[in-house]
Symmetry: C2
Subunit: 243 residues, 2 copies
């Protein structure tokens, strides 16, 4: 798939360019220094527009460390075509949570597995296109977002050499088996009091990862309350592995 | 108790002085810049002489960050008078571990609680003496060693404003109640595969701490395998809180 830039603006020293990759919208941020290693910025399926403030903050932090950063819209989110099964899974999730019921494995599987299956090849296609740009040199890291997408990418995509994961979304049982196949260095953030997250499942997933180098960085607070020093620690992880 | 210096040597920019505090031996390391904040270096009850290589490495790291560092011998360790009950508790522990038996709460209590009761007032006396030196300015942090000593100090000693704890020693049940009373910022290191440590107990203790700011930094490897980047993260924690 070809990458076409559709807009550009300067944010101080950072060049921000929106692009399309086939039908998929995305954003690339590049620092003044080139060629730069690349960090793929994962995000929850809430739409790039809604996530933009947090994404641009992470991209500027990455650029200050000398990294390019890029992200693409997830399937079924933002301006991309809706997807009936995903909408149904989200409605089932909402209903279970509002009723105070435990979220069943069936709901988690329906919510996450098709998203992983669709999204991962798209991120790989984005990587093909981004790595052909002269301002992107590699190596590549993956950061944040839906943790199951990060796990699958870490298993299937050899160009990703390090991953900073956020243990903040539901994890299908099947992903624990994939986690054992991960061997790249990992830095896993866990918000200890994350309302929508199963802490024990997050600890079990961390235990399952096959990587020899893995760090769990757990901090107080809810899903969106990651303290700045935890973000700094994740940035240092990428500096250790992408430079 | 009066502090008397008994020897001194220069290690590059760091001044290392041995001292006695009453009958208790100790070591103080001070950086070129004064007055400096102070980090108390905890250690396991194996004797200062045996622990010296790791202690001096930690002290030099602290001095490079602008901190003084100090430590004292634990009761019953090194050249200090033996202590029959502690020797008995260690023999019971060794016997249980060699037999592959679970270590009982009675053994853990006998091993740790008297040590905490004796050691904590000594560290507080050391603090009185060290803070009266012109080259020590405060604030004070406590780092590593027997985690129950760190917990008790964090509860009873208001001059300690931040603690970096190492979840690597047995924890009596009674300490979980004390942990709830801790309110200072904490940075807790956990070696995920620590042979002699109960991982679930370490996670439960982390959960119990009353502090609003607490970070769990878990890494792969055994008791003595703390990776350098985890040491760096602990150092950054003290820089955030003691500067």
């Amino acid at each position: 798939m070809a990458l076409h830039f559709t807009s550009e603006q300067r944010l101080d020293d950072v060049l921000e360019r929106e692009f399309t990759l086939g039908e998929i919208p995305g954003i690339l941020w590049t620092p003044a220094s080139a060629p730069a290693p690349l960090v793929l910025l994962g995000h929850p399926p809430l739409g790039l527009h809604k996530m933009y403030p947090r994404l641009v903050a992470r991209a500027r932090h990455a650029a200050a460390d000398g990294f390019a950063a890029a992200t693409i819209e997830l399937p079924g989110s933002g301006d991309r075509p809706r997807w009936a099964a995903a909408d149904q899974a989200r409605a089932d999730l909402r209903r279970a949570m509002e009723a105070g019921e435990p979220v069943s494995e069936e709901i988690i599987d329906a919510l996450i597995l098709p998203l992983v299956d669709k999204a991962v090849p798209e991120w790989q296609a984005a990587l093909d296109a981004l790595l052909s740009l002269p301002e992107i040199g590699g190596p590549v890291g993956y950061s944040g977002g839906v943790i199951s997408i990060g796990v699958r990418l870490a298993v299937v995509e050899p160009r990703i050499v390090a991953a900073g994961l956020f243990a903040g979304s539901f994890v299908p049982r099947a992903m624990f088996e994939e986690a054992r196949q991960v061997t790249i260095p990992l830095h896993v953030l866990l918000q200890w009091d994350d309302e929508g997250n199963d802490r024990q499942a997050a600890l079990d997933l961390f235990d399952a990862f096959g990587s020899k180098e893995k760090t769990l960085n757990a901090n107080m607070g809810g899903h969106t309350g990651v303290p700045q020093y935890a973000g700094d620690a994740a940035a240092q992880f990428f500096t250790r592995h992408l430079k």
